[in-house]
């Protein structure tokens, strides 16, 4: 005789309770396990950051702060660089290294300055990042510094298998160094060569560490993670210009809020000849190159 499904015996009390307990345990295990810092509840994030501060302060023998300043509302960051002014002096490269605690050995530079021939125009296949003359600018050359373009449509974040890199609300593409597994897919996906890998334990002289850090930016990184420019997230979100903007001796670097009609970047986009690198890839960079003259 066929059984009516409605006659199926209801689960016993014992079965129901053990199932419910199992599900609750599973949920708790997932919820309490490691988390990306960005997903943590505020109290746990603060505790984690205080612990990081303690570790860094101990390692470097100075009081290190790790901020978690969130994106400012109504702010979309953008950057502009005047190719007609840049003289290729690399002051920005080294100001960035010091500000953002890049490894000195092995050497990591977030900014790479390409010397290009005026006859060829912007042509990366013939550019020379290793130029080393006595004085710059050199005859017949111009210079194109390249760092992270902070794409609106970033290819790097899409390929991350663990979600350790993402675009923040203010447009800055960031990395959680504690969540990065070092697979380097993002480096392969980035068309600008802007991401850099810590092949060895980074070394920063204790006296040169910048103790003013942000957990998504310039805090000291471990070996085996990827890092890149964050528009100096610890400065930008405090309202300051990035370090490269302030150090540039020719004033070629400009930074500001795209949503502010009085900002320098808006003036540039509205009044100057502007280009972005590899526009055809539809990455929609937030980094604009322009010719002021």
């Amino acid at each position: 005789m066929k059984r009516d499904p409605s006659d199926a015996p209801a689960p016993s009390r014992r079965e129901f309770v053990s199932c419910a307990a199992g599900a609750a345990a599973g949920f708790l295990l997932t919820a309490c396990g490691p988390k990306r810092l960005v997903e943590m509840p505020k109290e746990r994030l603060h505790a984690a950051l205080r612990e990081l501060e303690r570790q860094y302060s101990e390692t470097y023998g100075t009081a290190v702060t790790v901020a978690e300043t969130p994106a400012l509302p109504g702010v979309q960051f953008a950057y502009a660089l005047d190719i007609s002014r840049c003289i290729g002096c690399r002051r920005c490269v080294y100001a960035c290294v010091e500000e953002n605690n890049q490894s000195r050995d092995p050497q990591i530079h977030w900014i790479r300055v390409h010397a290009m021939e005026k006859e060829r125009g912007v042509d990366f296949s013939h550019s020379d990042p290793y130029y080393d003359p006595k004085e710059v600018p050199e005859e017949g050359r111009f210079y194109v510094p390249v760092a992270c373009q902070q794409c609106e449509n970033p290819p790097c974040t899409k390929v991350c298998p663990v979600g350790a890199t993402w675009k923040e609300k203010d447009g800055i593409v960031v990395i959680d160094y504690d969540w990065c597994i070092g697979c380097r897919y993002c480096m392969a996906a980035c068309p600008y060569g802007a991401r850099h890998f810590n092949w060895a334990e980074p070394s920063i002289p204790k006296a040169e560490l910048n103790p003013n850090t942000h957990y998504l930016g310039n805090r000291p990184r471990p070996k085996g993670v990827v890092e890149k420019c964050t528009f100096c997230i610890h400065r930008a979100r405090a309202g300051r210009y990035p370090a490269c903007v302030e150090v540039c001796p020719v004033g070629a670097r400009k930074f500001g809020n795209l949503l502010d009609p009085d900002s320098e970047v808006r003036y540039i986009i509205e009044h100057k000849r502007v280009l972005v690198l590899k526009e055809d890839l539809n990455t929609v960079p937030r980094f604009f190159y322009f010719y002021a003259t």
């Binding site: 690399r90 004085e135 309202g239 004033g251 009085d262 003036y267």
Partner: protein
């Protein structure tokens, strides 16, 4: 450009004056708190010019200077211009525009802007020249003369910082070749 920027620039420039001159002292102090300009980059001990020039007769003849200021080499449209085209002959502590209007050294950008109008426009918008400080708050400007020597305005060459190290490949991979 903010319409309030121009009067603000003037006000700040006047407010930062650190020396005499009654007109300057009385300039209205409606300084925009968001803007800051450091004082003009005088050579040490050169200002005020009137400390030497006050009692001297004015010689308007164009000539090579031999007794004083012979270190100044004019490389700035020197075929057409000479000291007194920018410096005021009657009161050396001032500059003057082509119109004859006197301006203090703190406002030398007005003088530069007579020929380099598009640069002045960009500078006011914050696009020409270096700005430091806050992108959404107090900003620090420089005067034209902080970066460009007015007598030889071409930007000087700089020694570049070291080139990045080339990536090294392990020996066994290259077979001992560099």
């Amino acid at each position: 450009m903010r319409p309030a920027l121009v009067p603000a620039l003037l006000a700040v420039a006047c407010a930062t004056a650190t020396y005499g001159g009654d007109e300057r002292a009385e300039a209205p102090r409606t300084a925009d708190e968001r803007l800051e300009i450091p004082p003009p980059p005088f050579s040490e001990g050169i200002f005020p010019c009137s400390s030497c020039h006050a009692g001297m007769p004015v010689n308007r003849t164009r000539r090579a200077l031999t007794e004083m200021h012979d270190d100044i080499q004019l490389r700035h449209d020197e075929q057409h211009r000479w000291c007194l085209d920018c410096h005021d002959a009657t009161d050396r502590d001032w500059l003057h525009l082509a119109s004859g209007e006197r301006i203090p050294f703190e406002q030398s950008y007005l003088l530069c802007g007579q020929c380099h109008g598009e640069k002045l426009r960009d500078w006011r918008a914050g696009v020409h020249g270096r700005r430091t400080g806050n992108w959404n708050g107090q900003k620090r400007y420089l005067l034209c003369a902080h970066c460009h020597n007015p007598h030889q305005p071409r930007f000087r060459s700089l020694e570049p910082k070291p080139a990045p190290r080339r990536p090294e490949r392990p020996k066994e991979e290259t077979g001992g070749l560099p």
